[in-house]
Symmetry: D3
Subunit: 320 residues, 6 copies
């Protein structure tokens, strides 16, 4: 198996294919241009600077290109970076698919699809079941490849479906523990809650917000989907069933200030909000702790109120 | 012209027809029941207590009934109240329509309709024009009779349309002053922004929030309307036009914490939010100052951060 | 089986034994004294007024006494209350144990003890295991009978242990889902996190805050316990193990403003905070929804930012 | 007509006179000094770096000087900047007046003066009329040349009077719509509300806060003016008239946290606050949108809570 | 010495002269009127109800009257109240001066005047010294009799001067400890900081806010005084001296949200704010703890964020 | 006496020994490494850059080393910095003790010890006296050398004890002014309140937070000390005395959001919080104003909500 970016140690020479995730052209103080790269493969991302960049360099080394890179991994202000020796665009016969270099959900797409289909069987209220299936079909292609966010948590290919499936696992445990929770409503809410991100975001590569993402937002975008599903399926939008389903989805950010137009007023809406928050927090922390040396603190994490987290030196042995 | 509730002075005997706005049955400390009434006519509302209420009294004197009332207006803890002498349900030949006793917008419905129709001519972008007309037609009956709120501002019959028309006047002045504002977008936004209240609220008499009003809210309810209009009119929901229109409506509360799922990111959205806030504030203040004696402060107003407002003793002569 | 307070309908006469939960003596507007009672049994609590109370009534009908009550259940301002016909203190041969009338955890104490003992086996780090067992032994008597709060959630006999066990169930599901969480640390944190409430609160009957509860609080009170355990067991307080365990407990309220002297800086501390918040919220909501008629909203709940919650009319059939 | 800074395209050579708005001397990483310029003319501002600056360069190229500039407009990190070819101080016969290069209010000073004089006629309460005229005379020279702010909105020569006149237009429309507003008080408040900025700020060129501006602030500085006017004009400061006028001015920031020592407690104070906020917001947005390409978002705007604003691709045709 | 209100025990009959501090006429549930009194003497205040009040009773027993009261002190819902046996208006030969019944500063007026005069000697900067003396002379009569607040802290006759002198003592200690503080500026700030309350409040009996107090506030009212002093004494308002003095006074609430138009930007302004806050807090707590039984908590105190304070059972012996 | 860093003027050559407080290795835009130094002696700190740093330079010029420096003091972007001519590590016979270059409390250690011992005599409650003495003995070595903070206030050797003694002086003045304050409790609280910083911080040189400092914090760390003292001295932790002492220490940050697990509920806790805040604020301001030119504003101070402070041009003559 080929070595990846994070398989190299600091001060070790490296020789591998990587994806250009970002390529900012800047002017150095000597007046010459350089390119500030972020290279990426499935092990993570590292930056590196390409000095004295000519017109041709700028023209060819662009975001989304796969390149062959030789250089050295160094430590700079506590963070790894690449000192670039040589660079060339991947040629015929060399790896050229950007998708091969994108981090992915740790579970494959088929498994995710199976789990979601399984959960849909448990949505016993017919109207909710039909709406969920109709919308899943509409967004089939994107739902299983999109990330769940631009940065922060689950910002990788398939992250959206992976986040959804993790939440279904938590939902199952919670519904088992508290039998008066309406399991069908929670499951339907989990599957739909972030599906609007397939419109809010531009896709898994070089993820950006779309115009509708900025001006309408994924919460209302999936509510629009439910409205359309009801029209298509001839379901009464004014029925209690549909009001409940829409509420659960609309309220899932938990508070107005986080962008929900209504705050949870159903037990199931409160539960969905907690599950979402819990999975997002854990996934964000894991991402940061994964690159933190035991005995150190992580960077301060913007999405966690600027807190930093400690990686213990001697964690308890996890169950073998 | 018949005298109304606020035409009587304190300590004056009164004899008139009023509407029962509220009728709470309570137990006095002597163990007997009494009814705590709120009586209402177009001049305002005053409370009064009916002691030693029997079963029959409780059965007949209910919210929404018109009654003939004789009694005396008194001052109790700084507020007017009615000492009830006699009460009977309005009989045949006496006024019996609750609507006759509801406060109304100071402008008649025909004028309001004319003004709104006039404004629609100015919405020169065809897609917005069609959506506005389609939705206005859908909600024609309720839009011109509903209040704009349960309490606070414009809480009277026709208040919703009156609020809309006042805002159109302000919108006109602002668009005249700043020509780079897109007038059509502001006008469309003004007309639609609170139209969801026809679903959020139960109606002009004894106004309550509906289930959809509580769990979805008027902002998303009218967004649903726009989605349905586009389906019916075959307008592309993903077009920039529709994203802009929905944004303007969704953002009109100005901040997440006031229930907008997105915050203004268009000049016209910012303007709409200001106009709404301005008209609502002025209308709320006028309502409170109208019953404040010159030289006194009003009650503390919940919707204005608990501030009280002063009614000057010698206001400048308004232009004759 | 005897009928309990909530087995009676409104306007039905009742005849049963209840516990006096509160007995406030007040002066009626006719100058005579009355007692404002709150009666309680395992089905819930209802208030009632005892008019024209004499010296002897006041002397005997005190908080904590079991009484025989005949009266009628009525509706007053939307809430049930008791119209008292007759009252006497429970006599020899009648039920007299206050404990019989206290609401209880829905799981018996033996089961709770078993579950907690089982969880302790999973705390594989010896130092944590010893500290948890030492403290559980110290607080053995109170830990399984105390409520988890004065009001709000789990405010019933055995509520503290029941809350702990529910959280252990959630912890298990979460640790199963995310294998890099240190299960031993989470379990130890769950068992200890609220154990200081055995000092903070006065006990299961007529629960009050103690002086130490008010001035020190349960978070620091159990931290004190860990310090004492380490002294007794000769464990190094400065070791990483103990710093981690104390952190997890100290940070469990999640934010400074909720009374944690430090905010979570360990993955496990973040997880513990979420589990605590989730179980407390669900339990609080269940308590309120249990007495809400389907199709209505509950009262506004102080501990949920004043939100009210809706009880659906036609919930999905829970799995049989 | 000569081409100005924003008349040139990116990658086009330029040759024009500009004003040096800022000239920071810095040390490059090669140890040599360079000057970081901001050049300005009436079309806007662009930065540019002057490498290897000698003592004489530093001595002559200072803030406030007019220079002849040849160079090239380039794009750097998404923003335009000037690559400097040659620079010399404007010589005899060349344009040398800094004022010629300052952005100005879009309306000339005579028109602004006329409009304000016209408004004063409408202030029918004699005491307010006299105070306003007395203060306007005191600050005549500066009031019509100062900006309304250091940065943010109306930060150009004449901006203060322009902001005042725009607000008078809005005030007129609002007073026309709601006849119970005291027009004289609103007009007086509009004219005075920001007049203290003539003391708070240093002037239209290289605007800074003065010591009194920092330590006392423009709100109290104009209140001081009203006190002095009353002394000079022998008007009773304790009269209701003067208390109302001072209140309207003191409360115009709307909330304590924005620096008003009192919050609006008069209808007219509430109205003045809204008008000020509305005009400032629109003017700020226009400034940012003017340099935003249609289809793009502006920079995030500090004075609008960090929001960015979208410039639509196909705005509706403004009325011709 | 005559016994006062707080010299009587609960359930003890009392017979004494008191001042009527408040006399609210209300209607009992039997339809008859009663007067809800608050009686006051220098030991504190207690409420009491006068049942079946006739027209004559209501006419004569008004706020500000001295009455002879016989009755019984009782405990009602944890608070003392008076059961009234008999009441009559004080007759000729009986005490009739309301001032005799008002709580007073614990230090007499002459001492307060001496201390303030002494402090003025230490204000070595001539301009500050003259302004302070000029203003003190203007407000001589009220400054030594007014309270420092309507409720909360120092709400007693002479409270304003007493608060000022306590602060001078603290100021002396702080200036001794940190010699780089400008003592003259702190002393001048202490003496002036609340002097505007002589205009903001109506006086020591039945204290209310005046119109100017509500609409302008004591901070700007004393700033007005400094402006007038400078005019009268021909001192340059634009001098650094006067800017500093005004700043210290304007900023003494410490934050915008507490009503200061500017926040402290001078060491001396920061110090003045702390001294004010410290003395106000201690005085407020002493007032509440004085009537709290050792071993109990006080009421929750509005001005201290709703906290309650504990009165220890066994306080350390204060130095004899 | 040798000249120190702040004895030199800008543009003056310097030649002196200094301590390396920080030495960050960075890569210049020409690809070569340089060291960004912060040099320090008792007069303050100044930064300087060492260009073209070789491996040996990086190896020897490390934090904590004393070096001989020749160079020139320059002004760069308004702040002084050193242009380095030559550098060498201090040799035998040259000053080599880092401690000699650390800023120190302005009072010597013996005086601080005497003052604290004197204060302990005044703690007349035996239990508090014994606990304070026991803990002072435990932390004797560190208490008198540690700083009171990493940055902000009292961040110098001996700062912790100096802060404590300044607070004792203020405490004395306050207890003299308000005799109902329990002096013994305030003094005990002052001495203990920050003693946990001896565990929270790493020491006076290159001060960092320890793991226990981050995860437990100094407030709980000294509470742990009180628990241990009680065990060692056989004092009852549940006694009122100990609950009060712990409360005063735990509550000294004043609010939950500043990290206190309980908020002040004792007069003495409120007083301690104020004294701490007052001394910290003054000390922080003095530090910033000391390097501010008269007539200028200081930098914006993070610990004072980002405010800047003005250094007056003509301060009043302090008493000679």
């Amino acid at each position: 198996m080929t070595k990846q970016l994070y398989d190299y140690q600091n001060d070790e020479n490296l020789d591998l294919f990587v994806l250009i995730k970002a390529a900012d052209v800047r002017v150095a103080k000597n007046g010459k241009k350089f390119i500030a790269f972020v290279f990426q493969d499935r092990s993570g991302e590292i930056s590196g600077k390409f000095w004295d960049a000519g017109q041709q360099d700028i023209a060819q080394y662009q975001t989304g290109k796969v390149v062959h890179l030789t250089g050295k991994r160094e430590l700079y202000q506590g963070k790894p970076q690449i000192k670039i020796f040589k660079l060339h665009i991947a040629k015929a016969g060399e790896p050229q698919q950007p998708e091969q270099f994108l981090p992915k959900a740790p579970v494959d797409q088929t498994t995710l699809q199976d789990e979601i289909n399984q959960a849909i069987f448990t949505i016993t209220k017919p109207s909710w079941n039909r709406v969920v299936r109709w919308l899943l079909k509409q967004h089939q292609d994107t739902f299983f490849t999109y990330p769940a966010a631009k940065t922060n948590h689950h910002a990788f290919e398939g992250g959206l479906a992976y986040h959804t499936v993790s939440m279904l696992h938590l939902a199952k445990a919670i519904c088992d523990e508290y039998p008066d929770i309406d399991r069908a409503l929670v499951y339907a809410g989990v599957i739909l809650h972030d599906m609007g991100k397939t419109i809010e975001l531009s896709g898994p590569v070089a993820t950006q917000y779309t115009l509708a993402g900025n001006l309408i937002g994924h919460i209302v975008l999936i509510d629009e989907g439910i409205v359309q599903a009801c029209t298509a399926l001839d379901i009464d939008l004014a029925s209690e069933d549909m009001v409940l389903l829409r509420h659960v989805v609309l309220a899932h950010h938990g508070k107005h200030e986080y962008g929900s137009p209504v705050e949870p007023q159903l037990l199931e809406a409160e539960v969905l909000h907690h599950i979402d928050d819990l999975d997002a927090s854990i996934q964000m922390l894991r991402g940061h702790l994964q690159h933190t040396t035991p005995g150190d603190f992580s960077d301060r994490i913007f999405g966690m109120d600027g807190r930093h987290f400690y990686a213990p030196q001697q964690p308890d042995q996890p169950e073998a």
